[in-house]
Amino acid sequence: MAYAKLTRDQMAIRVARDIPEGAYVNLGIGLPTLVANHLPRNREVFLHSENGLLGMGPAPAAGEEDYDLINAGKQPVTLLPGGAYFHHADSFAMMRGGHLDICVLGAFQVSRAGDLANWHTGAPDAIPAVGGAMDLAIGAKKTFVMMEHLTKSGASKIVDACTYPLTGIACVSRIYTDLAVIDVTPQGLAVIEAVAGLSFEELQRLTGVTLRA
């Protein structure tokens, strides 16, 4: 039976469904940033940015950019009424102290135990840069990963053990891919749902790592 992979926006819509009213949320750079575009306007969600901002609003209108008001990707943003600024140690205390409900991160790989690799390819000529990735991975009450299921060459990004350098150990709660939503549980990887037309057997074949239906 034929199936279609979710687009990036469809993935963001799916993640947004699981972010409840009142949640304090950090959206990582890249794919997770798209989730903000799909939170319903009538749902109050507090977006946190590592550089000292709670109550982050959408990008400003053209010509209204203020580069003293930026997000973690250093792009201009706005502050919602009720939003607040704070310094970096407070901002990371919000993560490390377990005050954030959800963070959504991109990834190179996630292991069956919920280990995350998303900061460095480990290539010898690559310049390493970690930013807030390691703090975010271990800090929030729930860490969601959002990534394509397969690499460009068709290898599963869900693996037995990460081959890229780790960002955090056993820190991922749930994986959202363009094929499925999968929970990381003490009993293993549990498939919550798959895209229409994709059988469990086919998903299992593509993933390699043992899944539970």
Partner: protein, 233 residues
């Protein structure tokens, strides 16, 4: 009468000696004290260890300091950016030492220095390459890594308004590392866009009390420019 306002930016920056550890505020362009960095380049101190979140953007500010060959080592969390070519070239040529620190550990190590804390256990980085060789410990069933404070000889930070006692307010997310770097350095030099009379800053709204600030320099207001857009993860 105590007056921490220095009319001459060069005199304010003269506190930086060769071999000093210098914290520089900012997250990309926001909060980067460009005028103080220019004065530091002019001043000529070399063999510096720089503490900043990034490693310079474009060819100005911190990037210009690196390009001038004044920096021996940089302690930062996110050197690689689309416009970090100056750092990238120095790093690949082996001309600069990099200590890469997760951003929250960087902030807390700076805060610890300012707060007189001798170190702390953090879960961040446990089991990763960035915790290799560091002491670890299980506390309440969770593994932690021991991290030590980062002290500085001088901090250069950008604030919004200040008074002659060194009290400071900031502007939006340009605040970032300013308040904690001010606490962690022996001498903190703050640039401000406005020097106001004592009592004019609302005491309820002062973010950095003057005890953490030794020198205040007024610089003209100029719009912060874009810098350091990250490549998508």
């Amino acid at each position: 009468m105590i007056d921490k306002v220095f009319p001459d930016i060069g005199a304010a920056i003269a506190a930086v000696t060769d071999g000093a550890t210098v914290m520089i505020g900012g997250f990309g362009g926001a909060g980067q004290p460009a005028e103080l960095i220019d004065a530091l380049i002019e001043h000529g101190a070399r063999d510096l260890t720089i503490v900043n979140n990034n490693a310079g953007n474009g060819e100005t500010g911190l990037a210009a300091l690196l390009k001038a060959g004044r920096v021996r080592k940089i302690i930062c969390s996110f050197p690689r950016q689309v416009d970090s070519q100056v750092f990238d070239d120095l790093y690949r040529a082996g001309k600069i030492e990099l200590e890469l620190v997760p951003q929250g550990n960087l902030a807390e190590r700076i805060r610890a220095a300012g707060a007189g804390v001798g170190g702390f256990y953090t879960p961040t980085g446990y089991g990763t390459d960035l915790a290799k060789g560091k002491e670890t410990r299980m506390l309440n069933g969770r593994m932690y890594v021991f991290e030590t404070p980062i002290h500085a000889d001088v901090a250069l930070i950008k604030a919004e308004a200040g008074d002659r006692w060194g009290n400071l307010t900031y502007r939006k997310t340009a605040r970032n590392f300013g308040p904690i770097m001010a606490m962690a350095a022996k001498i903190t030099v703050a640039s401000v866009h406005e020097v106001v009379p004592l009592g004019k800053l609302d005491p309820e709204a002062i973010v950095t009390p003057g005890i953490f600030v030794q020198r205040v320099v007024k610089v003209p207001r100029s719009a912060t420019g874009p810098a350091g857009f990250n490549r998508a993860a």
